[in-house]
Amino acid sequence: MKLKTFFLVALLSVAINSAAQEIPTGDLLVRNATVLTITNGTLENTDVLIQDGIITAVGEQLSASQDVPVIDATGMYVMPGIIDAHSHIGISNVNESSAPVTAQVSVGDVLNPYSIAIYRALAGGVTSSHVMHGSANVIGGQNETIKHRWGLLDPDELRMAGAPRTIKFALGENPTRVHGRGNNKRPASRMGVEYVLRETFAKAQRYQEAWAQYEENAKTNPRAIPPAYNSQLEVMANILSGDILIHCHSYRADEILMLLGVLEDFGVDQITLQHVNEGFKIAPELAEFGATASVFADWWGYKFEVYYSTAYNAAILTRNGVLTSINSDSGELNRHLYHEAAKSQKYGDLSDDEALALITINPAIQLGIGDRIGSIEVGKEGDLAIFDRHPLSVYAINQKTVVDGIVYFDVETDTDDMRLIVDPESTVDTVVLHSHDDTHQCLYEGSLDLYDFLESN
């Protein structure tokens, strides 16, 4: 074997090894539960069978081979694993706030499988999170959709392979504060935000055209010169071609209408609006565009752009035909998204299925994975949360959380201390006192620390 070939084969086998890295999956039979399928109603005394991480049967008195682990869920409620469409857990950085456009960076590069926040989310029945870049920039970095496979230590094993790429945009107070007020750089106003969007999309269009031209030329001219590669415009071009979904931090009705106008002009037809506290004001326009919304159940009042809010937002959007989810944006709130859904049900009389869809199938659709998770159906991935009571009750406690057919959280058998790592340089047990402002991670996005900002003003 020639040396060159040897290296090539060696290199190839390394590549194959890492590509073929198997995400563990399990078999599981959940017996005799009240199954909240979300998409096919509620089934009493029903079993759910998962094989190799995939739901293969939902029905009464299912049979499985002897070696399949069985959970007796008599008297319990089984729902699809909860999906958090807006989170910042499990990453070591949130913002690359050095410029108003940072499309080329990705939080997927800083996944931290040791973050205890992943386990705590699991404890609340959450199986997937859309881990997002912060809101410091008009066009921020790319996000990562992860599954909460607590205990797997390779960051890549957290990724939900095959989930569409998504990117964070942000309008309003945060980017204008960070760049305009903080660095004396555009945008300092909502006018500037529109300008940054239009300028960047226009450049991306030119970039796309230049590459298309080159590829055309290359067919006849083997010596055709390609345009300069630009990692930022490459990502922007992927947005234009529909390969990357936009999730835009936005609050006010006017700025959202501005964004829809920009997207229309550049031919982008998919958008999920994040937070969108004033979405209720323009629900007909959102429905007409086909925009979807991911909102808080009841957070408001923490800054001016959420002063004119209503906890009935999810209900108004839903009734007007806007696909809506409830997200956490918080390492505290994500532990009780089922309770957040219950509040959204209370404020506007949603049905049980409508309320639970806010934290299951709807966020799945917004993340482009509605065909894989978000409901209990044959063929979908085996992600479940098993509650002792109906999950819309304030007294409900999640008993077990299942990802890919494997139980990753068990309220009975898990020890108190579930850390995967102990920092040898820290004191034995550091006490962190969390305040509301602290758990609200969006407030901290950007270069200004709100705590210091408030304290110093």
């Binding site: 205890i116 705590r120 404890a123 107070e173 004001k281 629900a283 007909p284 326009e285 009841d298 408001w300 009042g301 923490y302 800054k303 001016f304 002063y307 004119y308 209503t310 906890a311 009935y312 209900a315 108004i316 009734r319 390492g331 505290e332 532990r335 009780h336 309770h339 509040k343 049900q345 209370k346 404020y347 506007g348 819309l392 009750s393 304030v394 007294y395 406690i397 108190d416 201390d417 850390r419 820290s426 047990d429 550091t430 006490v431 962190v432 006192l433 969390h434 305040s435 509301h436 402002d437 602290d438 758990t439 901290y444 620390d449 709100l450 705590y451 900002f453 408030l454 304290e455 003003n457």
Partner: protein, 436 residues
């Protein structure tokens, strides 16, 4: 003459919208399930209220002929919930300094009174009270001695009308814990800051005690004493030292709680409450021994240590109660103080007996704040401050139907409900006003 009469009438009508009118007329709430909290539950009974007070409660109550009758068949009456820690009325929009009146500049400003800065028209007030939370402690923040908290009812046109009869001096006890996950100070820096703060606290208290001694001497023997200098902060602390004013100590980490207990005993402070107590469960026995009542919360929060079980914050109130600590719950929130019943619900789900959770948002805080002659339970002679629900108020799906505060029937609306009414079916919808 008549025109003056009518304009006066109109003026009065504008000032007091009919729904908020409190008259001598008796209001009878009939066929209600009455959860008195202190005297059991009446499955079907009547409450008579007049002039802002409860005048009768029972199964067989004679209803005066001219009484206004509200039939509450199928509904339950509970005493108004009390949130033992908010910044209601002090903060309108969290991030806007112009709308925040919770903090003064000095580290030591115990003479500052939250009641002074309460805005009776704060938008969060109606949002909160329609949830059944009728009364809140509103608390200044910032610095070591940020000022005096005030107990307020969530109805009134002036702070004085809202005042519910209790004020207490806040002390933010020197903390060895980190302030949230963005606190990047080193271990040494944290300890140094806490040591310095402790020294400052003791120096301040030494001065206050000295000031008190000088003043006491002067009061008893003005002829041979000297009048103490005018130092407003010292006067505020003097009231605490003399046991005429309550000291509310905000403290969270286990070691800090122990240090606070030691400090309270060393300084011989009579009227004292603890507030926060995120790690109260770790030293619950020690707190119970002192008999110091605790304003605990928020329940919906993250455990203080990475090694702690995921549900420790939810269990904290129940564990403290089990150890014998008298507790009241606080949301530590303002815009969403309306979620107090859900803090109680989570505490219940994770071990606090439901009767105790109910007491922790009603009679316990009323007793702790010394206003149980007015608030905290449904009893004859107390203020008519209560809410009517279609079930367990801690359960999320439960709807609150009526709220009364000191006899005033509160309109069941807020910015949130009004926006819902306006925008559920917006008119015009799409494409009107001459646009395509």
């Amino acid at each position: 003459m008549m025109s003056i009469f009518y304009s006066l009438l109109i003026a009065v009508t504008l000032l007091f919208p009919p729904s908020l009118e409190k008259t001598d007329t008796v209001t009878a709430l009939t066929n209600a399930r009455i959860v008195t909290v202190t005297q059991g539950t009446i499955e079907s009974g009547t409450i008579l209220i007049q002039d802002g007070k409860i005048i009768q409660i029972g199964m067989n109550v004679d209803i005066p002929e001219d009484a206004r009758v509200i039939d509450l068949a199928g509904l339950s009456v509970y005493p108004g919930m009390i949130d033992s820690g908010t910044q209601m009325g002090l903060i309108e929009v969290g991030s806007l300094p112009e709308t925040r009146d919770a903090s003064e500049l000095c580290d030591l400003s115990p003479q500052m009174k939250a009641l002074t800065a309460v805005n009776p028209n704060g938008v969060a007030i109606p949002v909160t009270r329609v949830s059944g939370v009728t009364t809140v402690l509103t608390v200044p923040s910032g610095g070591m001695l940020p000022g005096q908290a005030a107990l307020i009812n969530l109805h009134g046109y002036t702070p004085q009308q809202m005042f519910a009869g209790f004020e207490g001096v806040i002390l933010r006890f020197p903390a060895t814990g980190r302030r949230g996950r963005f606190d990047s100070r080193s271990e040494e820096e944290v300890k140094k800051a806490a040591d310095e703060a402790m020294k400052k606290l003791n120096d301040t208290w030494d001065s206050a005690e000295l000031h008190n001694r000088i003043d006491s001497t002067y009061q008893t023997r003005p002829e041979d004493g000297r009048k103490p200098e005018y130092v407003p902060s010292m006067e505020a602390l003097r009231d605490v030292i003399r046991g005429e004013q309550t000291l509310i100590i905000q403290v969270n980490a286990a070691n800090d709680i122990l240090a606070a207990i030691e400090w309270v005993q060393a300084r011989d402070i009579d009227r004292v409450l603890f507030s926060g107590l995120a790690e109260g469960w770790r030293v619950a026995d020690k707190i119970a021994e002192t008999g110091i009542p605790c304003l605990v919360g928020p329940v919906l929060s993250i455990p203080t240590r990475q090694s702690d079980r995921f549900d420790k914050a939810y269990k904290n109130a129940g564990l403290m109660h089990a150890a014998g600590v008298k507790i009241a719950l606080r949301s530590d929130d303002t815009a969403n103080a309306r979620n107090l019943p859900y803090h109680a619900g989570f505490a219940t789900a994770y071990g606090l007996p439901i009767e105790e959770a109910l007491r922790a948002v009603t009679i316990n805080p009323a007793e702790i704040f010394g206003v149980s002659d007015r608030l905290g339970s449904l009893e004859v002679g107390k203020e008519a401050t209560f809410f009517v629900s279609d079930g367990d108020p801690f359960e999320t799906a439960t709807t609150i139907h009526h709220v009364f505060i000191a006899g005033y029937e509160i309109p069941m609306e807020s910015r949130h409900t009004r926006l819902y009414e306006e925008f559920l079916q917006r008119s015009p919808g799409l494409h009107k006003h001459g646009q395509d």
